[in-house]
């Protein structure tokens, strides 16, 4: 559930800003075995999306090759004040959300 979001609190209109996100998740690959030979079932985040005032600005499909506690950083143009909403969706009905606000001058 826990997520770390890094979005600048303030930006100039038209400025390109970096958004960094980190969420806690095991990202179990589904390729590992226990010591007694049983396959550990896959449990990963499969999809991430970021919306800026309701409009999707970034989306990612994730695979087992993404490290545990997925970190993603990407860019967007600060066009208006408002809210970024983040959503992670994964195996076994996993879903987690976070948000951050920005003031654009």
């Amino acid at each position: 559930m826990a997520a770390l979001i890094n979005v600048p609190a303030k930006a100039k209109r038209g400025e390109i800003i970096e958004i960094r996100t980190l969420t806690s998740h095991i990202m179990e690959t589904g390729f590992r075995h226990t010591a007694d030979g049983k396959l550990v079932p896959r449990d990963i985040i499969t999809s991430f999306a970021c919306r800026y005032n309701g409009i999707e600005i970034f989306r990612a499909d994730l695979f087992p090759a993404i490290a545990a506690n997925p970190y993603l950083s990407f860019f967007t143009v600060a066009r208006e004040s408002g809210k970024f909403e983040f959503e992670w969706i994964g195996d076994n009905g996993y879903s987690s959300t976070a948000s951050a606000s920005i003031t654009v001058e």
Binding site: I16, I17, T29, F31, R32, H33, T34, A35, V40, Y52, I55, I57, F58, R59, A60, D61, L62, F63, P64, A65, I66, A67, A68, P70, Y71, L72, S73, F74, F75, T76, V77, R79
Partner: protein, 155 residues
């Protein structure tokens, strides 16, 4: 009791053997270059893939394949007429050839994505960008991995 030379050597030898074991047992389950090509064709289709425009920042030598920082950037003005639609990252020898698909648009401002990935072996990582005119551009990087990820035993 002080450690004798014989005991020390036996212990050191044991550590070395245990340390190299996982790498050896990993070999059978891995994607092949053919799987990599199939995965790339699933995304690209029949289109031609050109070299250039894409930059892949990844360390050439990593000690721990469980978390490898990676940045992909594409030279693009990111305007409505000329922007990067998506970035796709693949590997050659993990159990599965896909790493991630990243969808961008003109509102991204800059075509750059960073994440942390897993690498199960010393291998090639390929990044492909799809531009708004539906051309594909690629770059590949070789990474040497000393401790593999993905398939090790759970303790």
């Amino acid at each position: 009791m002080p450690t004798t030379r014989r005991q020390f050597l036996r212990l050191a030898g044991g550590v070395t053997v245990a340390g190299t074991m996982p790498i050896v047992t990993l070999r059978p389950i891995e994607a092949t270059p053919a799987m990599l090509n199939t995965a790339i064709r699933n995304v690209v289709g029949e289109a031609q893939i050109r070299n250039g425009k894409v930059k892949l920042d990844i360390p050439p030598l990593v000690e721990n394949g469980n978390t490898v920082p990676m940045t992909v950037s594409v030279a693009s003005p990111m305007t409505a007429d000329d922007h990067v639609k998506s970035i796709h990252v693949f590997n050659e020898k993990n159990p599965q050839p896909n790493i991630g698909n990243f969808h961008l648009g003109p509102s991204s401002g800059r075509a750059e994505v960073s994440t942390r990935i897993r690498l199960a072996d010393t291998q090639k990582v390929v990044a492909i960008a799809r531009l708004s005119d539906d051309t594909f551009w690629q770059v590949a990087a070789d990474v040497v991995v000393t401790l593999a990820a993905c398939t090790e035993e759970m303790n």
